[in-house]
Each structure stands twice: as structure tokens, then as C-alpha cells.
Subunit: 219 residues, 2 copies
């Protein structure tokens, strides 16, 4: 790790990092609802975490809130965004423009968090030239050029499962150092490359738990 790294970022435990986006999501909802301050208890409830953990996680960012008032919503959004590196625009290349790729390319939640789609790529030449959300689809063979020109560090895989590992290997070879995998496949990456997999059913599983409790039928 470089010596220039921000001290705050260095100290944040991995499990806290994973909760910061949940706080950000909750804070965004509160801000949209017109709230300017929030207690750790209310933020905890909105994020589905206990309030002692919220206070501890936020203390890693140097955010302590004010007794009897809580946290300033806007200020906390800034602190968390900064800790996550969202205040700097990050270039993303998205591979696979099927239904999911289409949906992701048009997803407002990426741009609002500072992610910029520098390129849309597909192995299918019949898709090349199509414009999706303002970006022209290019062929997979242009990957190196897209990554270099857009200073891309993050690759998003939205291909069918069978193509995912090859696409992953090509992304890594092109210099991408973080991979977000939406394909239902287990991928291998070399050391130094971060890999995360999205499971779209996770929130549905949490709802299932509550449905089970509501229905009163034992598991």
C-alpha cells in the first residue's frame, strides 16, 4: 500500500467499508425526504444495522455527530463519499450488452455515485455500433484501447456465465484492477485484482426471512 494513502481510509475495517454504501443509500433516501439531520438510531434502522455499530463505523471517518442532534445528512454523505473514493470520477468498462448490460448502462445509480461508463463492449459484432444511454457499443477487440483512453480501472462483466472467465482474463490483461461480476459464474483473478460478485437475489432472501416470520410457518 502506498505511503500517500489517506490515513482514514487505511484504518477502516473491511466490514465497515461494506456497510458504508448502505449508510449512503439510507442517507440519500433521508435527503430526498427533506431530512437535514439524522440520529444514529434512525440511520441504524434505515440501514438495518445496530446503532452502536453505526457510531463506530462513522467514527472511523472522523464523523462523531452532535449529542441530541445526530449527524448532518449532507456532511455525512460527503464524508462517506470521500472515504469510498466516490468524489473522484471512476471510469468503468462494461462488457456484455444483453438485457442486463442494457439495464446497467442506463442505470442512474452509477452516474450519481461518480461512476462513468467509459466503454460498452460486446463480442457480438451485430451489437457493435448500437448506442445505449449515449455510449456507442464497441467490439471486445477494442478493449485495450478503451481501457487506455478512458483510464479505466474497473470492469463490469454482464456476459453469459460461459464467457465470463475469458472476459475477466482479458480485462485483467488490459490493466483493469477491479472486477464486478454480474454473471452467474465463479471467476479467478490474480493477486492484486479485486473481484466482487453481485447476487441480485440477496435482498429477496432478506424479504423471504420476513415473509416466513409473518406467515408463522416454521422453517
Amino acid at each position: 500500500m502506498s505511503e500517500q494513502v489517506d490515513d482514514a481510509a487505511r484504518r477502516i475495517p473491511e466490514a465497515s467499508v461494506a456497510r458504508l454504501p448502505l449508510y449512503l443509500r439510507a442517507l440519500s433516501s433521508l435527503a430526498e425526504a427533506g431530512r437535514t439531520t439524522v440520529s444514529s438510531e434512525a440511520l441504524a434502522a434505515a440501514a438495518g444495522v445496530n446503532s452502536a455499530k453505526v457510531r463506530k463505523d462513522l467514527s472511523h471517518l472522523g464523523s462523531y455527530g452532535t449529542r441530541g442532534v445526530g449527524y448532518e445528512v449532507d456532511e455525512l454523505v460527503q464524508h462517506i463519499s470521500s472515504a469510498l473514493g466516490l468524489t473522484r470520477r471512476r471510469s468503468v468498462v462494461l462488457v456484455g450488452v444483453g438485457n442486463l448490460g442494457h439495464a446497467l448502462a442506463g442505470y442512474g445509480g452509477f452516474a450519481s455515485r461518480g461512476f462513468w461508463i467509459a466503454g460498452l463492449l460486446d463480442a457480438d459484432r451485430s451489437r457493435v455500433g448500437e448506442t445505449i444511454a449515449g455510449v456507442v457499443v464497441r467490439h471486445m477487440d477494442d478493449l485495450d484501447e478503451v481501457v487506455r483512453a478512458g483510464d479505466v480501472s474497473i470492469g463490469v462483466i454482464a456476459t453469459p456465465a460461459r464467457a465470463a472467465q475469458e472476459v475477466c482474463d482479458r480485462l485483467v490483461a488490459a490493466g483493469v484492477t477491479s472486477i464486478l461480476n454480474f454473471a452467474p459464474a465463479v471467476l479467478q483473478v490474480p493477486d492484486g485484482v479485486d473481484l466482487r460478485k453481485v447476487d441480485l437475489s440477496i435482498e429477496l432472501q432478506i424479504l423471504s426471512f420476513h415473509e416466513q416470520r409473518k406467515s408463522g410457518i416454521p422453517a
Copy 2:
């Protein structure tokens, strides 16, 4: 809450419930890689949680593992699936068959976790009759019938933001008691209805944190 509810499910704290799908995702990857046992440390690393928390969460399910061996992967998958109510098939209605709705309808991760799409609905009559992933799209006006016939308790909203609240209200009126919202809108639901919102950029934000650390540029 009904007296018939399973005791184990009753005791699990909300924050633990939210982590169970993460363990399930990690365990599925381990199983696909041929692993039959896993230590709490290895499971913790794969799920991005600390190992003491893993042990505590799993103890709520009555899973304690074996000293020096860890947990049996298959057995733990069963315990977690059972606690989340995934061993019983849950019927889901999905509203909005744009790109995201298409992608969700064809998403293998729902079926593999026991979620069955009992209906695909859209307000656009030109989409009605189309078959997606084996299910024929019906008009939103058929909602009550689809919910009743399919014994649907969970509604998934994949509409544009402007339509989401009205769709949510109609789902609740039809008897749906859990809502998963993919639309970029803040929704209101009455007491007794569970609402969760998916933010597709959450994993990307975690990668951003690591990119920031790797690049050595302070936030």
C-alpha cells in the same frame, strides 16, 4: 408474530439476517469449487465479515461447527436456507418488463434460491403477450388475479421511477406483503409491509474504496 413461528428464526437479530445471504453466496462459491468443509475464518474472509461475527451469526441457527474442521458446507447451506425460508418456494410477481425486468426475469439466481416468478406484468399493452423466460407478460390490470392464483407474497418493481409508487400501492392493495424495489425512487408502504431497495452500485462503491487504496491518492 404468530406463536407457531420457529424459535430459531425469532431470535436472529436483523443485522445477522442481512449477513446470512452473504454467507450463502460465499458457501455456494466454495461448493462450486469442490470444498466440503470451511473454517469460520475462511468463510469470514469470503463473505467480508470478521470470523467472530460469523461464529456468532451461525450460532443463532444452531450451527457451531467442529473444532479443527469447521463447518460442513452442505449442512450450513441447508441451515441458512432454512432460516431464510428459502426451502419453501416463494412466489414473486415482477412489474415492469423493460431491460431490467427482462434481465431479472431471466436471472438464474432467483430460481436457484427458491423464488418462482408467478407473473410478469406491464402497464404497456404492447408488451402484453410477450414470453420472457417462459412466462407470458400480462397487463397490470390482471394483478389481483395473478397474486391470488399464484399465492404471491413478494412484489418486485422494475418500472421507471415515476411509475413506482403507483405500482407499489397496487401491489399492496392486491395483498403483497413484501416489496423489492429496483426503481430509483423512494417508496412509502403501510405498516406490516416490508420494503427493500436494491442499489446496483453498492458493490461498485466497495471496489471504489479498494481502487482508491491501490492508487494511493488520498480521498
